[in-house]
């Protein structure tokens, strides 16, 4: 059994069961909570490595739970949202959640999100190299290659890629990307972000029109696909 502990928070028994069985089958240690209150006390008691949090809880709003946990902990939180409440998703991400899954979702997506969330913790400082297919990003050497061919990036483009790599597998909101790469006062310069992403795609994607590395999450942000 791996060391990774996952807290599942959902008021639906069937969903908890599906998640528990699946995650246990992949060697995770699983804790469960059925309400916001239980979630917070379980987090404090069990200190999970990842929290999977449903937004539709009976006692406290999922966004509120996120906010409360973030007051004292940086544990990665993956929220479960339903289609049609895009604003809830963004509110949760802004409140400090790291990623989301749209119900109904498949097991593959679930595991990918969990792995991506754990990567931040498990990736030690001496593993600065990100690899995905032919793309290799060496953060220590500031070198980006595709099939061993060097790719020339502008400073902004490189920064953008760096932030994406640091969050590999997880979604980053537009706002967050802009703030991290350009600074807090650029939080709304969406067009500028898009142009840079577009240029980056043209440089590293085999088919820029159908990206397989830098994925758009429409209405939310971008995600660097990690596996």
């Amino acid at each position: 059994m791996s060391d990774n502990k996952i807290l599942i928070v959902d008021d639906e028994g069937a969903i908890r069961r599906f998640l528990r069985v699946t995650l246990k089958a992949h060697d995770y240690t699983v804790f469960e909570a059925a309400s916001g209150k239980e979630a917070i006390s379980s987090t404090a008691d069990n200190k999970p490595d990842v929290i999977i949090l449903d937004l539709g809880l009976p006692d406290v709003d999922g966004v509120e739970v996120t906010r409360m946990i973030r007051e004292w902990s940086q544990i990665p939180i993956i929220i479960l949202s339903i289609r049609g409440s895009e604003s809830d998703k963004i509110a949760a991400l802004d409140a400090g959640a790291d990623d989301y899954l749209t119900k109904p979702f498949g097991v593959g997506e679930l595991l990918a999100r969990v792995r991506a969330s754990l990567r931040r913790i498990n990736v030690a400082a001496n593993e600065p190299v990100f690899t995905s297919n032919d793309l290799v990003v060496d953060l220590a050497q500031r070198r980006v290659t595709i099939n061993d061919n060097d790719i020339q990036l502008t400073p902004n483009e490189y920064e953008l890629l760096r932030v994406l790599v640091n969050h590999a597998g997880k979604v980053i909101t537009h706002n967050h990307l802009l703030r991290e790469v350009w600074g807090p006062e650029y939080g709304n310069e969406f067009h500028m972000l898009h142009v840079n992403i577009s240029n980056l795609r043209h440089k590293i994607e085999p088919e820029p029109a159908r990206p397989k590395f830098i994925i758009t999450e429409p209405g939310v942000g971008y995600r660097l696909k990690a596996d």
Partner: protein, 512 residues
Amino acid sequence: MNMKLGRAGIHWRKYIFGLCLVVAGTILGHLVQTFFDPTNIIMIYLLCVTVSAVFWGLGPSVFVAVAGVLTFDFFFVPPHHTLAVDDTQYLFTFIALLVVGVIISYLTSRTRRQTEEAIRKEKETSALYTLGHDLAIASSLDSYIKAITRRVRETFGYDVIVFLPDEKNTRNIRPYTDTPDISIDNTDFTEALSTLRRFSENKQDINLQQHSKSQYLPLVTARGIIGIMTLKNPGSPIELTSEQEQLLKAYIDLAAVAIEGIILADQARYAQVIQETEKLQNALLNAISHDLKTPLVSVIGVLSSLQEEGMHLDENAKENLIQVAREEADKLNHLISNLLDESRIEAGAIKITKQPVEIQDLVGSALEQLGARAKRHRFKIEIPPELPFVYVDVGLIVQALVNVIDNALKYSPQDTPIEIKAQTVDEQLQIEIIDMGVGIPPQDIDRIFDKFYRIQRPDNVSGTGMGLSISKGIIEAHGGYIEANNHPGGGTVIRISLSSDKTPFNERKFTE
């Protein structure tokens, strides 16, 4: 239209005219005396009698006959200037003159009375006809009754109110009138109600009350009493001649039948609408229930198969079954999303949160949501990267695209590609989805975006047909257009037009 139905009184003037005529005749007689025999002069008096009979009636013509005879005797029969008669044959002349005068005046006055009667009847018929015509073109109970009350008021000169039992509570009555400022007081209500009750209990003849300012007349049909027509005169008591009474009764009969007719027609129409609505609702619920349960058949079937028969199945078979179940479950997911969107559109509860987004990403997201079915099919995507953004609600537009592409997937053969093109046309962003399926029958081109419309195809195309109408609802809520056409060379092209994001560079931001 006013009818003067008063009786002719005694008009002294006519007798004066008659006398003048006799005088004129006498003068004329004098003038021609030398040329004519007295027998011919009598013709002048005969003429006078005829004229007065025709114009002035029996009385005056008899007077003229007598005056004529006396004058003739006095002036023209020897011995002149006396009333004595020498020749007794003139006595015969006198009698004849008198008799002729009487006969002619009787005949002409009878003709005149008949003419007057005919004119009156014609006016009466015309009045009823006009009322009938008004009723024929009136389309609601209100306008019917207004036509009736107006006609009666114009014909008889009194204010008219029609009282009908209230549809909801038949113990109460409602007044209808076309005089807006008429005063209806409690007495009117109580009188009308008591008349109504009296006539419901036993059939009676309609009689007008003497010396009353208000008349409460029952509207009676074969089914019984259906209402009360009230005539009111604020000033003096209501008085009607017998011809007027007759005409009024004719009006009342016509009105009663007409009102009953329209009430029955309304009831029948209402019942029919209820019936049709129920039928439609049932059909709809049946279709939705079918579409929701059908995918579950496969899902539950496959799962039970794996559960109970798992050991008998080889890997291929299992793989196959699982694939089917997965796709059917996706279909169910899609259908539920559509139903929810449909409900939101119907309830006017669609909330649009707009963001700048690329067409590219919208299409990509739509294809992603369509899952395995889209992956299995060949797509030709031509979206130039430098297209301007659109300012739309991402979730909704993606759903709109999903429905349109889903439609293309349903109706295009497996081996033909589906094209998705985007371009700017006149500052609008235009997306085209082109399939090479059967196309749309020309008469149906406008109807494919109707709710629940499906092209009549006998095969296994599932879905209640609301996808395209939802797409239309969403796109139009964004101020865009969607239209369908047959593609030259076969197939269908669905064109979506959205305005491009024109917010200035520095102001582009996300709304939350």
